[in-house]
């Protein structure tokens, strides 16, 4: 990468935000379509999924937000050695402000002390930025727009949990995740996707759980025991019968994605990041060469 330190890609970041806010990823849309077939004709559940799919189409066609709650923009940025993360952060903040002005994002950053909305989605530690240096010579940006309704039903457990009979093992994880789905009912805009993290401390566990949401629905877990637990939890969560919007029905979650990290001997945390059906994620690769900046969206 030539001159990676001063790469200018604000426009590309604005476009990334636009894509995330207005275009539901293909795997999510496919899963919602499969969900329709699971629900009875004439049921409120089927009606909800039909409206959702109609909305997805409209948002894409008219380039308007899928959901009015465009959430917390979470950027995971992978960069080569030599890139100024400060300079990239400045461009990200500029980009979300522009995207807000263009009505791709709702102004969502509120000062908790004064109640004042900044008006442009920038504020203290807002948007969320995580930088990762990697060995490759281009930049990669993943973006998730994480809505507030589903954030409010996201939760964390400390095992063992006597109420749920959950010990420090994968069956314990299974129990608390099912409880989280029951607690959420339709409030997180079911059918959702669950990002689950096992281990870590309270802070790192929530971050890990959210990072699972970047995985495609069809992306198999490399760990066989976690892959099996993902399948079991998807099936059992749907057996709860909560259904789209909590109307009752067979489609409650569209997928479960689990990651793990080392924990302290004393702690065994399980975090559940509930993501609504509008699982808005978008990615791009950015490289700078003699011909200028090249951008590929995925």
């Amino acid at each position: 990468m030539e001159g990676p330190a001063d790469i200018e890609f604000t426009d590309a970041l604005v476009e990334l935000v636009r894509r995330a806010a207005t275009q539901l990823p293909a795997d999510m849309e496919r899963a919602l379509k499969e969900g329709v077939e699971e629900e009875a004709h004439g049921s409120a559940a089927r009606g909800a999924l039909d409206s959702i799919l109609q909305n997805v189409q409209l948002a894409r066609t008219h380039s308007t937000p899928i959901c009015q709650d465009t959430g917390t923009p979470i950027f995971e940025i992978f960069h080569p050695l030599g890139v100024s993360t400060r300079a990239v952060a400045d461009q990200v903040r500029k980009a979300v402000a522009i995207a807000t002005e263009r009505a791709f994002l709702r102004p969502n950053a509120v000062d908790p002390l004064t109640g004042k909305n900044s008006g442009d989605n920038t504020g203290e530690d807002f948007p969320t930025l995580h930088f990762h240096e990697w060995e490759r010579d281009h930049l990669h940006v993943d973006l998730v727009l994480k809505g507030g309704g589903c954030e409010n039903v996201s939760t964390q457990y400390k095992l063992p949990d006597g109420r749920l009979g959950a010990g420090r093992d994968l069956d314990g994880v299974r129990r608390v995740v099912l409880d989280a789905v029951h607690q959420a009912q339709g409030k997180g805009c079911a059918p959702g996707v669950l990002g689950v993290a096992i281990g870590g401390d309270r802070g790192s566990s929530y971050i890990k759980a959210k990072q699972q949401l970047l995985r495609g629905l069809d992306e198999a877990n490399a760990d066989a025991s976690l892959a099996e637990l993902e399948a079991t939890l998807t099936r059992e969560a749907n057996d709860l019968g909560i259904g789209p919007m909590g109307f009752g029905g067979r489609t409650t979650v569209l997928g479960v994605k689990i990651g793990s990290q080392h924990r302290l001997p004393a702690s065994y945390f399980v975090s559940v990041a509930y993501m609504c059906w509008a699982n808005r994620r978008a990615s791009m690769d950015v490289s700078a060469g003699a011909g200028g900046v090249e951008v590929t969206y995925a």
Binding site: Q68, G115, D239, L240, M245, A278
Partner: protein, 204 residues
């Protein structure tokens, strides 16, 4: 599909049952966390201050027999100062549970639109008023915005765009009755049934 027009007469409310799909017509007002807190603190629990009198009178007129919508929209402002709703789905209603019964009674609301359902206090207010809880499809924001014909006015914009009280004229706004005036709540039913299924799964 039943069409409802604001102001909604009590007999039409009483005829509605959980599961009924409706289309709403008329002028409604958005209000979520900041607006509910404000209405309780400035209108319901104390006499109305002079600087709030105009807003109070307008809300009384709009909400009498009317509907409040738990929504924080994405809006676009035009050169002439007018506004358009770009995306306008419902927000989670349960946060307003502590305020809702008093707001329903004070303003004679006939309906509350939101998502996720509300609790026992609101269900009781729906019975006594009478009123209904109307569930819009969460996240279907571009679709729902198309049923907003006109942004008539905005109040309390100092709360920020999502929290302001937007007065909007809607045409065939789609929703489902999930709490009716006969003490029926779909949310209560689904919560209880899913709790039993959870117990079965945890017994394994």
């Amino acid at each position: 599909m039943r069409r409802l027009t604001i102001p909604i007469p009590d007999e039409e409310i009483r005829a509605l049952r959980v599961g009924d799909a409706i289309q709403l017509n008329g002028t409604i007002v958005t209000g979520r966390d900041a607006a509910h807190k404000f209405m309780i603190e400035h209108f319901v629990r104390q006499s109305v201050a002079e600087e709030d009198a105009e807003l109070y009178d307008e809300l009384r007129r709009l909400l009498n027999g009317g509907v409040i919508y738990h929504c924080g929209p994405v809006v676009r402002q035009h050169q002439d100062g007018s506004w358009t709703f770009v995306a306008a789905g419902p927000t989670t209603s349960i946060r307003e549970e502590v305020y809702q019964p008093d707001v329903i009674a004070h303003f004679n609301l006939k309906g509350v639109i939101g998502k996720g359902g509300m609790g026992a206090g609101t269900l009781e207010a729906c019975r006594s008023q009478p009123a209904v809880y109307l569930h819009a499809i969460g996240g279907a924001a571009s679709l729902i915005a198309r049923s907003v014909d006109e942004v008539v006015a905005v109040h309390k914009l100092e709360f920020g765009v999502p929290e302001a009280m937007w007065v909007i004229r809607v045409k065939d706004f789609p929703a489902v009755v999930t709490m009716d005036s006969h003490e029926e709540s779909l949310h209560k039913r689904v919560e209880e049934e899913s709790r039993k299924k959870l117990a079965d799964l945890l017994a394994r």
